[in-house]
């Protein structure tokens, strides 16, 4: 890399994990950071339990897992695109919005059942991701575009998606046909029926993503490419195929995250993805930029942090917690919880 600064943070090279370790042990920093993180989270939980009682902490923890699941789904795509293409995609949040409105189109306008509408949204968003690769990113890479050029183009694309949606559907909040009032009680904890489905779908998909990245050759190739595109090319990975797969993956998951977010919150507006983008970046940087497993963990941790923060501060400010974490991580550990520091010249 051309003269990166001495303190530049490189996405950590991923070790090939050995044995049948649990999915999260694939975090590249090894087990140490994972254990430290778990210990810190446990310590915070303990302090909160002592101060506010176990019920409140558990209830907000449940809420945190709900938001954590769509943060994680959104963040993993953002980080994978960064890792494989060195592209910070500022339009990623708007892919979530696009997914939500595609589900609205199918579910409400066309009257398709929600499950099929969700599938439609995932496919449509994945298609948009692939389209953007073919029409914008691949030609630009071919021309040797600089970082600033690419960043600005992602922003232009973000505008086109967001405000294109606003031109068609306006800013009026829209709903999917899901029941957001019905709720379930378990051990004294309340969770919305839809929220429960969101968490379950979210975690099943996250697990599948984790397994896919670790176990399948496509997943391994994605991570190899994420390490070094040039290297992957000389060692014979079909990069074009992997790049397309990455986009399908990243955009499809973003579409799903958008639908899950809307289902959990109740409404969608054209801004939803942009508002979420901040949290997605916080999750990505928390986990170590470019690190897929880190993004999954970062998303969940951020969800927990935001909800637990409402025990201490006005819930209005929980969005700011994401920003606080972002800044704190950059100060204390810029390579993220699970990244490894690399200095290059």
């Amino acid at each position: 890399m051309a003269g990166a600064a001495d303190t530049a943070v490189e996405p950590a090279p991923r070790d090939e994990p050995r044995g049948a370790a649990p999915a999260l042990a694939g975090l590249s920093g090894g087990r140490g950071p994972l254990l430290v993180t778990v210990a810190i989270v446990a310590a915070i939980a303990l302090v909160l339990i002592v101060a506010y009682g176990i019920h409140d902490v558990a209830q907000r923890g449940v809420n945190g897992l709900v938001s954590g699941s769509y943060f994680a789904l959104g963040a993993v795509g953002l980080t994978l695109v960064y890792g494989t293409l060195r592209l910070v995609n500022f339009a990623h949040g708007d892919l979530l919005t696009f997914g939500a409105y595609m589900a609205f189109l199918a579910n409400v306008t066309w009257g398709v059942p929600i499950v099929l509408a969700t599938l439609f949204a995932v496919v449509a968003t994945a298609a948009l991701g692939v389209l953007s690769e073919r029409v914008m990113w691949r030609p630009m890479r071919g021309r040797g575009a600089g970082m600033l050029q690419l960043l600005l183009m992602t922003l232009g694309l973000a505008f086109v998606i967001r405000y294109g949606i606003q031109m068609i559907w306006g800013t009026f909040p829209r709903r999917l046909e899901v029941d957001v009032t019905d709720s379930i009680s378990f051990l004294g904890l309340r969770i919305g029926r839809t929220e429960l489905i969101v968490v379950i779908v979210g975690f099943v998909v996250l697990l599948a993503v984790g397994l896919m990245l670790r176990r399948t050759s496509l997943g391994r190739q994605m991570r190899a490419l994420s390490d070094d595109m040039g290297l992957a090319e000389v060692t014979g990975i079909d990069t074009d195929r992997v790049v397309i797969a990455t986009w399908i993956f990243a955009a499809g998951l973003a579409g799903l995250a958008g639908v899950l977010y809307t289902a959990a919150i109740g409404t969608m507006t054209p801004n939803l993805g942009f508002f979420l983008l901040l949290s997605l970046f916080a999750a990505v940087i928390l986990g170590g930029i470019g690190n897929a497993f880190g993004a999954l963990a970062g998303g969940l941790l951020l969800g927990l942090a935001q909800e637990w923060s409402t025990l201490v501060i006005d819930p209005r400010w929980k969005v700011a917690v994401g920003f606080g974490i972002l800044i704190l991580v950059l100060f204390v550990r810029p390579q993220g919880l699970f990244g490894r520091k690399e200095r290059t010249l």
Binding site: M1, A2, G3, A4, A5, D6, T7, A8, V9, R86, V88, F90, M136, P139, M140, G144, A145, G146, M147, L148, Q149, L151, L152, M153, L155, G156, L157, A158, F159, V160, R162, Y163, G164, Q166, M167, G170, T171, P270, F274, F275, L277, L278, F281, A282, I285, I289, R316, W317, V319, A320, G322, F323, L326, I327, L330, F331, P334, L345
Partner: protein, 320 residues
């Protein structure tokens, strides 16, 4: 059959239209001069200029309305606050690769908007903040008094004059700075940080100065926006306004201070002219159309004419 849309060209010949465009173009010239300093001359990607604009404008408004300061004392104080915010944001992120700074600044702008919306006690939230411009209106009346009688009904004319005088002064100062040894160090940093470092230049300190000055320029743009609207509300400072600035920047040409004013005039003429296209659409959808245009313009410019009108092509290729 009724036409789908009609364009009335009358508006384009009215003085109101051009004064309105002139004030906005001047305001955004100042705003984008800051981006030019950061992106064009230092090589740092500031995506949060709207946040600095908001911090400047709100600090000014709050100091005047809530703390009872004089406007003339509030302006320098608010500028200092915006600069301090720039340094605080820069300290953790400017040591890292350029894309980290882009991420942090865009997040920062969003948080500032969020605070403006939610800290109602200070900012008035969505109701907005009013009544900070009495002292300006006195000055404005004085300037109007100097003008010929035929122009006296153009109450925005004094603002137009002051904005463009400010643009001229700031552009001149920045060009002088750029020619100084200080500007030479910035250019070296933009080209190759490590080379600058090896020659004993404190790269982080220069980057922080660059971002602090850009924040000050953003704040000044914020004052003009506030005086133009007589009213501060979160919608006027949404993060996406930064990207109108970037479109202006690329349109005018990177690493060219004069191009900024040119780009801004073209951009705002186009954006304001869209108001007069009679589309059968709700207001929010017409507003959306403007941003779609910005998005498309940004993509096409960056892809096909990255050097803009006055820049050099190689300026666009910032190293990673």
């Amino acid at each position: 059959m009724t036409p789908v849309f009609a364009v009335s060209l009358d508006a384009l010949t009215s003085a109101d239209f051009w004064i309105g465009v002139g004030v906005l173009a001047g305001t955004y010239t100042i705003f984008t001069l800051g981006l030019q300093l950061n992106v064009g001359f230092t090589g740092i990607i500031n995506f949060g200029q709207a946040g600095f604009m908001a911090i400047g404008a709100y600090s000014m408004g709050i100091l005047v309305v809530r703390a009872g300061w004089s406007l003339w004392a509030a302006l320098p104080a608010a500028t200092a606050i915006a600069m301090a915010a720039g340094v605080l944001i820069g300290l953790p992120s400017l040591r890292l690769r350029a894309d980290y700074f882009a991420i942090v600044t865009i997040a920062f702008a969003e948080i500032v908007r969020y605070v403006a919306q939610n800290a109602r006690g200070l900012t008035g939230g969505n109701q907005g903040l009013l009544g900070f411009d009495d002292q300006w209106l006195d000055v404005s009346d004085t300037i109007l008094g100097w003008l010929p009688a035929s122009m006296q009904d153009q109450f925005l004319l004094p603002l137009l004059i002051v904005v463009w005088v400010t643009v001229a002064i700031l552009t001149g100062l920045l060009m002088l700075l750029q020619r100084s040894p200080w500007g030479r160090v910035l250019r070296a940093i933009r080209e190759d940080e490590d080379a600058a470092r090896a020659l004993g230049k404190n790269v982080l300190a220069y980057k922080l100065q660059s971002i602090a000055l850009a924040a000050a320029l953003g704040a000044i743009a914020g004052y003009f926006l506030a005086l133009n609207l007589s009213f501060l509300s979160p919608e006027s400072f949404e993060p996406q306004f930064t990207f109108i600035g970037f479109t202006i920047l690329i349109l005018g040409g990177l690493a060219n201070y004069v191009g900024v004013a040119l780009g801004s005039l073209i951009m705002w003429t186009l954006l304001e002219a869209t108001r007069f296209i009679d589309l059968p659409l709700a207001a929010e959808k017409v507003a959306a159309l403007r941003f779609v245009i910005v998005g498309v313009a940004l993509i096409l410019l960056v892809a096909f004419r990255p050097q803009g009108l006055l820049g050099k092509r190689q300026e666009m290729v910032l190293r990673d």
